[in-house]
Amino acid sequence: MTADVQGSKDASTATVTPWWRDERKRGIASQALVGLVLVGFVWFMASNMLANQERLGVPMSFRFLDSPAGFQLSFATISVTLDSPISRILLVGALNTLFASAITAVLATVLGVIIGISRLSTNFLISRLAGAYIELLRNTPLLLQLVFWYASVVAALPAVKSSLSLFNVIFLNKKGLYVPDPVFQPGAGLVLVAFIVAVVASVVLRRWASQRQAATGERFPAISVSILLLLGLPALTSLALGNPVEWDIPVLGGFNFSGGLAFQPEVVALIVGLGLNSSAFIAEIIRGGIIAVSHGQTEAALALGLKPRWTLRLVVIPQAQRIIIPPMVSQYLNVVKNSTLAGFIGYPDLFSVIGTSQNQTGRAVECITILMLFYLAVSLVISTVLNWYNKRVALVER
């Protein structure tokens, strides 16, 4: 475009064009204006901020991070006490955010794929049921769902004595969810190493199998062998070392459960609420992706004699995958961002911890800077990783 403008200008050098008719010069002028306004705006804000901070006697400084926090968190993945510095408390908050987001993302993906495929089922009842689920969860506010789950977890679940239980190892009651806690004895690291080895081996195996199939046409049952490897290798290592990982199973004693890992109602409500909500959105993404693959593709595959199952696996899913990935990226980002609502139901995620710290120290600017940087960094990391994956599976055109 700029080249065109250049050309026309050179051609008409005979008549002098006024500068405001010249697109290039006009562009420079308008940009200079925008830049000037922007700089002025930022300078105005910054000078106000410095003046205000000076007036209030709180000059910009991150030294408050070292002072003891003096408040306790209801849920923490690493140890934290009342005397811990604020930086430690913020770290706990950040880990809580990541913990809740990660579990939610896994739950939502599994559930979303099931619901999305159910929505496309030829079975009338199943598809309508999935449709009702999606419409209900997508058309009500997430915050409402969270407070609803929190209220129902507290109100509707049975008391400790009559807990709901799964195989007598997992218990659910008013006070939360109790699951077995792995206790690592010396040697447990080797089991983890075995698992990593199995993962690497199955990746290598898969690559080799597809190369061999491309070269010779011979198939190798790579998937079943990998599953066997992934389950078998750690199990064998564990057996050989004499079970270095033991499970501490929760036991009902007196008024409450002892042993095991306990998750308070807040954690359960957050993960259930956020997970179900995101699963409805993921279901729609999956459904949209599958529908978007032209019906001619399915028809052609069936005409070639592929069975419906193989049509889905070899023709529809690889194409749907490309359509599904970009919206999935933003959905995972949404999960992280939506976890900020946790504060409303008393789960100490980074946002609510920052809110409390800001309240106690009055350091609004510093706290919000940390908060924004954290979320921007998480967004950046997730979208970079998934965009890299997206590039790998994208169709290479021309």
Binding site: N48, L143, A151, A155, G343
Partner: protein, 393 residues
């Protein structure tokens, strides 16, 4: 070969016998038509399907009867008559103790507050007028039978906001009702309405800026959009509430509602910009080149050729953004505003109504659901109306 020819002869004989019109056509098998046929096709086409059907029926059995019992049959719908020896009192949760189900008298008793918030009771007719004008003009704008859309649109986007502000806030002969008294459903409508009306044009400008050839404008828009999209709405509201006072000269103060509106609009505009950008990118380059070849300037080209088409493509995404904006207005609770959800929450924390949380939330969900579902259906309708391509199947 011989087999085939024999087959053909047999076929010919059969065809002769089956010549149309020789015999009355038989009715289709009963198993393929009517309710039975429908069941066979849709619910029991294979054994896997049959199992799924039974599973679905079981899930429905688990959910629907208990819910109906709670919400309808065992619910308390009206305030029961006073028992002997009980002092007269305003309705409260204790009145529902007799029934196991939902306590709907909570919603009945609190409905005015849910709708108007703390708005002065004698002045609530003003809010009613605004609701009425809003409903009538939205119907007028959306209905296909009503013409004169242009006049309606000018009224709705230019005159109505001023009129509504005057009616709601007061002044010029009306009693002033401070914005801190605004709340409930009315506040939710104001927040989402203003957010919707302002975020779309702002989003279009951001999207155009992002596609601009001018590097400064382009960078500014990219940074703005990506920054806002990278952080949660709640942090933007928090920032608007806590950090904005730091950025203003001492003594200058913004109304909380105004600050929240600013945050919500900027947030929605960034998302809108991405949807509009999608529409802009979907247009073939020939449209731009054609417009330029006609000698149109940038703004003429955008206004007359590009935006009408791009916005049409972007309609589903735009409406989706409207829906999430409506739902996101619930987050204003973080800065202490009492929107619809927050006022219902506060109502169920009243000592007279402890234990009515679920009733409040179910009512609240129903209202949000009706609005959001209506929006999504309308967008699907528009999509179908504007769909000109080939449809699958």
């Amino acid at each position: 070969m011989a087999d085939i020819s024999a087959d053909t002869t047999a076929n010919n004989n059969l065809n002769a016998q089956m010549e149309p019109g020789l015999r009355p056509s038989l009715p289709p098998p009963t198993l393929e038509t009517g309710a039975v046929g429908w069941l066979r096709h849709n619910l029991f086409s294979s054994w896997v399907n049959a199992i799924l059907t039974v599973l679905a029926l079981y899930i429905l059995y688990l959910i629907i009867p208990p819910f109906l019992a709670w919400a309808v049959f065992d619910a308390t719908w009206t305030v029961p008559p006073l028992a002997a020896g009980v002092e007269d009192h305003p309705p409260q949760f204790a009145d529902c103790r007799a029934n196991a189900g939902a306590c709907w008298i909570f919603v009945e008793a609190r409905l005015p507050q849910f709708v108007y918030g703390f708005y002065t009771a004698e002045q609530r007719w003003r809010v009613d007028i605004v609701f009425l004008i809003l409903a009538v003009s939205i119907f007028g704008l959306l209905s296909e039978r009503i013409k004169r859309k242009k006049e309606l649109a000018i009224f709705f986007f230019a005159i109505f906001p001023i009129l509504a502000f005057w009616l709601l806030y007061g002044g010029l002969g009306l009693e002033v009702v401070e914005t801190r008294l605004w709340g409930g459903f009315m506040l939710t409508l104001i927040l989402s309405g203003i957010g919707i009306v302002f975020s779309l044009p702002l989003g279009v400008l951001l999207a155009l800026g992002r596609r601009s050839d001018l590097p400064v404008v382009h960078m500014l828009c990219v940074v703005m959009i990506e920054f806002v999209r990278g952080v949660p709405l709640i942090t933007i509201l928090f920032m608007a509430n806590v950090m904005l006072p730091f950025f203003l000269p001492p003594g200058v103060e913004f109304n909380v509602l105004l600050r929240v509106l600013l945050g919500v609009t900027i947030f929605a505009a960034a998302y809108m910009a991405e949807v509009v950008r999608g529409g802009l990118q979907a247009l073939p380059k020939g449209q731009y080149e054609g417009a330029m070849a006609m000698g149109l300037g940038y703004w003429q080209m955008m206004r007359l050729i590009i935006l009408p088409q791009a916005l049409r493509i972007a309609i589903p995404g735009i409406v989706n953004n409207f829906i999430s904006l409506t739902q996101d207005t619930t987050l204003v609770a973080i800065v202490g505003l009492y929107d619809f959800l927050n006022i219902v929450r506060a109502g169920s924390r009243d000592t007279n109504w402890l234990g009515t949380e679920i009733e409040g939330y179910v009512f609240c969900a129903l209202v949000y659901w009706i609005f959001c579902f209506a929006m999504s259906r309308y967008s699907m309708h528009l999509e179908r109306k504007l769909h000109t391509g080939h449809k699958k199947r």
